[in-house]
Amino acid sequence: MTQTHVDYQLSQLDQLEAESIHIFREVAAEFEKPVLMFSGGKDSIVMLRLAEKAFYPAKLPFPLLQVDTGLDFDEVLSTRDNWVQRLGARIHIASVEDAIAKGIVIDDGKTSRNRQQIGALLNAIEENGFTAAFGGGRRDEEKARAKERVYSHRDEFGQWDPKMQRPELWSLYNGRIHSGEHMRIFPLSNWTELDIWHYIDREQIEIPAIYFAHEREVILRDGMWLSVSDAVQPKGDEKVETKMVRFRTVGDKSQTGCVESTASTTAEIIDEIAIARVTERGATRGDDRFSEAAMEDRKKEGYF
């Protein structure tokens, strides 16, 4: 048994954990068919850990859903497989390639895979009849997300209407939906990037190796270091260099940049992030740079 608390005060990380677990349990109790959207990134993995804690020693009472962009990093996929196996979880894979082949998503050669995910995701939610989909979004990520509710209502087209959001009072969440609609659930709403890293450090949980510093062949494009791969080949006078880098966010290979770093442990990453002067998305996500409201526009269409 752990020691008795003297002052009955929870640290902020314990409070965030307790509140997220409360949200997971509330959704599992009230929704008919929840699913956990899993990208393989650090936020998804913290979500898995919290879900594991919420229902232990029982297994997760819902499956996972990954949208496979076809451009995912190998390290992310192998971490996903390890987690799924350890939790004994069920997983649905919604493939963007399949959606393109079936004509659900149009590939015009210009739209990013991140945006193409929307169609594949909405289709998977509709086909499987999911009524609630957990997402790892955090309000500190982006200014449109600062307005997001923990329970975020989506109409039968999967759309988010920021002006029609339900007020959220105390810890009383309203999960009422009509047939065909669903709710996006954000248990990490109140977490910041630093909280996520402190939690990964404290819990010593497995995350994809690409978050830690490693040598990689990269090219400089639009001010971002992109990893050379089947999805990214040097164009024009772009020069391939070998650098010590790590990733701050995990998205598809064509859009996600890396940063120069020597941080090889979670503690070193925390020290690095604590003094970072640029947001994670601003630094390394090409898809948020299209316009001032890029995230908001994608969310309205059904992005998480």
């Binding site: 990380l13 409360h22 509330e26 020693p57 449109a144 105390w170 109140n190 001032e292």
Partner: protein
């Protein structure tokens, strides 16, 4: 201040939630911008984006409000539509700001923001003094039982740092506050624009000996605001693995709403009234010695009593009385007014039922505190005292005693929208 925390001390930081309130031009966005800037919570790319937007809008200053107005339509209209949540941290504390807009939809948004706040921050413009709006904000914060209140007298630079102006506002507010329930009040003269008394002590106010705003936010004691006496454990989810390894495991998962639970405690399960003893309390794969608010834990009982979601575990001689007749203050949040005989869904802790409006006793004028007893209905953003009859008994406490077991929401069954927020006076 401003030094980022390292991996070792972060786990011990605590959390303060505060709700900001103020009128449109009192400098709220500037103050929030300053708190974020000075705690190094604004990143270069965010600041650059705001600077670029300010230039393209033709402003000759950096409009920090652009940092907090997150939606396209807000930026287009230059107004704040809804509550937004923002985050910053100092070495000792993490802060969550519920940034509630000051325009016409004030009540609904303020009630939302204040429902989870430990502290309410009301801004007044030193030149204007107390306005109807400042009084209304204080009334709402008091009604929502936000235990700590800060009145920040802003724009002191525009009144030549006059002690006299500050004292007048201070005195007027203290007199007004005696009619309310505000256990802890701090009045701080500041200039959000220039940063005086926000993070660093100002040389312009030698007559002021109190704390800076940031110092106060960092040190105000919130742990004792929770009820650690009356055990309240609403059962949220029954954990039954039925696996080979945990074949007989039956745990009741939930978030502690009040009191301290320990293994060996005699407890009663409501509404059935069956008694048992706590066998163990689990936090993931660990057994723990005690659980207190707001921990999310799983409780196991000695006996195989019937317990399901919506039930509540309490101490044998200290349990809430199950009741179907609820007397509450309601904040109404939708255009279609609340009327007698109306039927709604009610969500209280983990229990959902239906409720009928038996009577609207009065409407509270949040400006004058006058009780209008002739009222027949409650309109959007109005607050009133209402009698409800519920289909199943609720296990409730007065809101003044416990903000979790004393609160509920009302849901329109046709649209599914949250239409009301309720604070229980008493149940009979």
């Amino acid at each position: 201040m401003g030094t980022p925390q390292t991996s070792s001390d972060h786990g011990q930081m605590d959390l303060l939630r505060f709700a900001t309130a103020g009128s449109v031009d009192d400098g709220k966005s500037t103050l929030i911008g300053r708190l974020l800037l000075d705690s190094k919570s604004i990143f270069e790319d965010q600041l650059e984006a705001v600077e670029a937007s300010s230039v393209s809008k033709g402003y000759d200053y950096t409009d920090l409000a652009l940092l907090t107005d997150g939606l396209r339509s807000e930026r287009e209209q230059g107004i704040t539509i809804d509550v937004a949540y923002r985050y910053f941290a100092t070495p000792s504390r993490k802060f969550i700001i519920a940034d509630t807009p000051g325009h016409i939809q004030y009540t609904r948004n303020m009630v939302t923001g204040a429902s989870t706040a430990d502290l309410g921050l009301v801004l007044v413009d030193a030149r204007q003094g107390l306005t109807e709006q400042s009084r209304r904000h204080a009334v709402l914060l008091s009604l929502l039982r936000v235990p700590h209140l800060v009145l920040a007298v802003n724009k002191m630079d525009l009144v030549d740092w006059s002690e006299e102006v500050y004292e007048k506002i201070h005195k007027e507010f203290t007199t007004f506050a005696t009619k309310l329930n505000i256990p802890d009040l701090e009045v701080i003269p500041i200039s959000a624009l220039q940063g005086d008394n926000v993070v660093t002590r100002s040389e312009n106010t030698p007559w002021y000996s109190g704390p800076t705003l940031m110092h106060h936010l960092e040190h105000v004691h919130v742990a004792s605001d929770r009820d650690l006496v009356d055990v309240r454990f609403p059962v949220q989810f029954v954990v039954r693995p039925k696996s080979d390894e945990f074949h007989d495991y039956r745990g009741y998962a939930g978030m502690v709403a009040g009191g301290v639970l320990k293994p060996g405690d005699e407890v009663v399960v409501l509404p059935s009234g069956m008694t048992s003893t706590i066998q163990g309390i689990d936090l993931f794969d660990q057994e723990i010695a005690e659980a207190f608010p707001p921990m999310s834990v799983t409780v196991r009982l000695e006996d195989d009593v019937d317990v399901s979601r919506g039930d509540m575990i309490a101490r044998v001689n200290n349990a809430p009385k199950p009741s179907q007749d609820i007397d509450a203050m309601i904040c109404w949040m939708t255009n279609e007014p609340l009327r007698p005989r109306q039927k709604l869904a009610i969500k209280h802790t983990t229990r959902t039922a239906r409720a009928m409006v038996k009577d609207i006793q009065y409407r509270l004028d949040v400006n004058s505190l006058h009780r209008d007893q002739d009222t027949k209905e409650l309109g959007l953003n109005e607050i009133g005292r209402v009698q409800l009859r519920t289909t199943v008994p609720l296990l409730c406490d007065p809101y003044s005693k416990n903000r979790t077991t004393g609160s509920f929401i009302l849901i329109d069954e046709a649209t599914g929208v949250t239409v009301g927020a309720g604070m229980i006076n008493n149940a009979t």
